[in-house]
Chain length 576, copies 2
């Protein structure tokens, strides 16, 4: 049985399988979504209008026994950046689609009127169910309902109240293995694209799925063994290693020490209180109060960086508190209390908000005086404004840039309209190059220069040295290839340092595809994806002037290093 | 005494005269502001940051006996469009600056902290006075205070509460001859630029002014006589003519009949109720209740299209109800009641809002459900949200595009972020070409194709014919030259049809400048101004894709003609 595309027309509520075109056969994840978006979406279209499309695609090895490979890419034209967008998440939903041999789901058109729908996908096709009863409701409760209605094994994807507001901060939310709405393809407002079409949920029931076709089992098995060996031996990814023990929030202390952890809307890179919200403190607390640590976001993950955070009484699971979320809703908002942060993350998950965008938004909202820096309870009340769809909530749901403008703030930390992640580019220059130049808008995952600049992974670079164009470019190319593979980006920690691991990744791809790729092909694969994305953005009106950081990063010195972002425009323009 | 520049540094509250550079000697109005902005403002700077500048410049013949020549240009980088901006107003303030031989006032820097200042300009220089007591207050009351404090002869310029909110809809407000805050350089959010620097008001006291230097009195007098003859004989501009009898709102019936008067956020081009808010109905009503009609916005105007509208009891003067304002706050908001419209215009004047942007904003706010179309009292309440600086008020103060986005509207009538004026481009194609291609963002005054398309002035063209690139370009070039001269754009009605009038305009410029310009020089003068502006916008990141109308104008048919905007992209790109 060959791979299919499920094409979903929201104009007339029709969902039909069609053959995957031959030239899409070797595509997966970001490679698939960006190719389809570039081919089918007019670059100048209104991202919330009838011409935009939303594309879901599992990675190439997703759904197989390859470790840490349960990623799903979501693509479309972003209402936040105005450019092409790929956001991805680790979720069983992705593995199910892959096993059903669905190479992509394409959501197109726009349902007239105000009804919301749920699309149920089975081996037989797609079926629509009215979903109005779940609109305006928090996703924790709704996902419980959906599991009751469609079974605990169903894959769940949905969008929340922020998306109903067509908010630029709205993500596409996948259930984790326990059914918690905590796994987000968060960035770029793709949740709003889904809601704009009248689609609230996608449920997948994989009964009868044939599984992923593997062209060469032997090569595949050899490959994943090499990768497994690399993952289980590298200090960052191995069981009992940094990610497994503390989760991504292990970075809080590291980046704070490096002077690059943005505090209070990017006004300082360090604060001694950050330790209170570190990965170490969090792991300790989970041990004390209950919850789960470590934990996986999808079955078959070796790294298992995830966790389930709970209230002090051990109840009301939130899901994972990632580093980016902890930072955005913590130090960037002047909040240094894990319980406040946990509740803010719960609110984001419940409302369908990207935590990075929400935290960036709180930062400018606090600078604009809506509540004080550090006021966790006040911040939670602001999130409730989104739930209540008040004017304030509507502002906040639009994300950092619009909130900053509406409040008359000039220090707005965004690139291409998207909020900056948890590394200040004045203290760690290479990540700033990535923020500025990736076609995605400010995105750390697009080319994680933190690895060599801070973690000593894949080399060792001085974070304050502004000559970072090359390292950012190389990482961006490699990342695009990883985002196509279906592997979690975190395998990069191991394969950047262990050549056999990288070899194994390539072999696993060859095994699935029946191809003869070599390690030398990885960067060109990534480049072809990024070229497609850059071409789309150019046609959408982007110029090199969009590849810049906001003025204040160039002029306002960041303590404690007291440096500005001094990468030259020429260097930025040399990246692509 | 040669012409000067008054350079005002808000960082340290210093205002100093400096010599006007030799190559600026022949510049005025838009020619002066765009030249200075292009030379001194970094195109990529934050428009509300320290690097933007605000430039005021009277026209070349302003302050002389030339008829209808009291225009003042205000320029800077627009926070609404992100590009270069020139907005102009007719006001005695301009004539005073000209007579003081102040070629330009340049406001630069940014005062730290939260204080607002008043700058008093005399022949001796500039003096700063703390203006905090007038912040947060409506301009009708404040301008009364200012006239008490600085005398009835003082020229008054200021910004209102919308500018304090750094709103993209905030204009720069000049007092009319009676001291009413009704003469706006309204468009593009330049009020916010002024407020962002800590400057609330500029008062001019022209005591001791030497008057405008006229190089060749004889040529000058001959020129203005020819222009005067043209103005007093053309049906549109003569005493008792269309503008003099009914004001600009004479267009309501004409454009409604042509099917191009946008109703309820651009959903129809015609409504029989429009007649109730026509110029004819308004003139009749003024005759009945009191008020003044005709009236001039600056001494020496022959056309005298202005008026003073009052409440039904003949009291509480508003100032003029211009066609654009009547449309924006009337039919575009589904309101067909002159008293409601008058009070909405009063609110805009009082708060410091551009009426076109405010009306466009009400249109999307009504489509977004904040109040119902046609609810004049509800619309007034919304304007009060701006006064009270509530979250809703802050949204509205940002103008049509941000309000539309925040409310999740996809039908947002803007170009380059600026709200469309009172002519639907689907029914009158040439004005759409101007909206799309002028460096100013949607602006009818930039190239008023309505003249030949609807009014039969300067030729007769079919409004539905999409081949309008050439007429728009020619009008845009001529307009830029007029905007530099200091003449009111309305002289164009006469000089497009009466060659001697145009000849007179050129002679009047030659008289003042001691130059030897011919009619053939007019277009090249305009072109050089527009080239400067286009170059700035290009450096600010604009591409040809910014020269487009929003999607819905291309796809949604406008009753009653049931046509879309079908000017090709190639035609749009051929304009410049």
């Amino acid at each position: 049985m060959p791979k299919k595309i499920l094409r979903v027309n929201m104009n007339n509520l029709e969902a039909k399988f069609e053959d995957l075109p031959g030239d899409y056969a070797a595509l997966g994840g970001r490679g698939m979504t960006s190719t389809i978006v570039a081919k089918e979406v007019p670059p100048t279209c209104n991202p919330l209008g009838i011409h935009n499309k939303l594309v879901f695609a599992p990675g190439i090895v997703t759904g197989t026994a390859a470790p840490s490979s349960g990623r799903l890419s979501v693509g479309g034209k972003s209402p936040l950046t105005g450019g092409i967008k790929e956001a991805n998440a680790g979720t069983p939903f992705s593995q199910m689609l892959a096993r059903m041999r669905i190479g992509a789901i394409i959501i197109e058109g726009k349902h007239e009127g105000h009804d919301y729908y749920l699309l149920k996908v089975t081996m037989d096709g797609g079926e629509f169910i009215n979903a109005n009863k779940w609109s305006g409701k928090g996703l924790y409760g709704v996902y419980k309902d959906l599991r009751k209605e469609f079974g605990e094994k169903a894959g769940i994807c949905g969008v929340g109240i922020a998306a109903e507001l067509l908010g630029g901060n709205s993500g596409v939310c996948f259930a984790d293995p326990e059914g918690l709405p905590s796994r987000y393809a968060g960035r770029g407002g793709l949740g709003a694209v889904m809601a704009s079409k009248g689609l609230k949920f996608i449920i997948v029931d994989e009964a009868g799925a044939p599984g992923v076709e593997i062209a060469n089992q032997e090569v595949f098995k050899e490959g994943i063994k090499k990768l497994r060996d690399a993952l289980t031996s590298h200090d960052v990814t191995k069981p009992g290693g940094a990610l497994n023990s503390y989760g991504t929030a292990v970075l809080v202390n590291i980046i704070n020490e490096a002077g690059g952890l943005p505090q209070r809307n990017f006004s300082s890179g360090q604060d001694e209180r950050a330790e209170k919200v570190s990965g170490e403190a969090k792991a300790e607390e989970i041990k004390k109060r209950g919850g789960t640590r470590p934990h996986f976001c999808n079955p078959g993950c070796i790294i298992q960086c995830s966790e389930v955070w709970v209230k002090p009484n051990g109840k009301d699971p939130v899901g994972v508190l990632e580093y980016e979320s902890v930072w955005a809703l913590g130090p960037n908002s002047g909040i240094y209390n894990l319980d406040d942060i946990g509740e803010l993350i719960r609110a984001c998950n419940d409302l369908g908000c990207d935590t990075i965008e929400a935290g960036g938004t709180l930062g400018v909202a606090m600078e604009g005086g809506l509540v004080k820096f550090g006021d966790g309870k006040g911040a939670l009340k602001l999130m409730e404004e989104i739930r209540n769809k008040t004017p304030t909530g509507r502002i906040l749901a639009q994300g950092t840039e619009i909130t900053g403008k509406v409040l008359g703030i000039t220090r707005i930390p965004t690139v291409k309209g998207q909020s900056l992640p948890a590394y200040d580019p004045r203290a760690i220059k290479g990540i700033g190059v990535t923020y500025a130049t990736t076609p995605m808008g400010a995105d750390h995952t697009a080319g994680y220069a933190i690895a060599p600049e801070i973690l000593g992974v894949g080399g060792t670079l001085d974070p304050l040295d502004p000559k970072k164009a090359e390292v950012s470019r190389n990482l961006q190319l490699a990342t695009a290839a990883v985002d196509a593979s279906g592997y979690c980006l975190f395998i990069a920690f191991a394969i950047l340092d262990i050549p056999e691991g990288l070899q194994g990744v390539v072999e696993s791809l060859n095994g699935v595809l029946g191809a003869n790729l070599t390690v030398a092909d990885v960067a060109p694969i990534g480049k072809s994806i990024i070229d497609t994305e850059l071409e789309f953005n150019k046609k959408a009106g982007f110029t090199s002037l969009d590849d810049r950081l906001p003025e204040f990063f160039l002029e306002e010195k960041l303590p404690p290093h007291n440096t500005v972002f001094d990468v030259t425009d020429a260097d930025l323009d040399s990246v692509f």
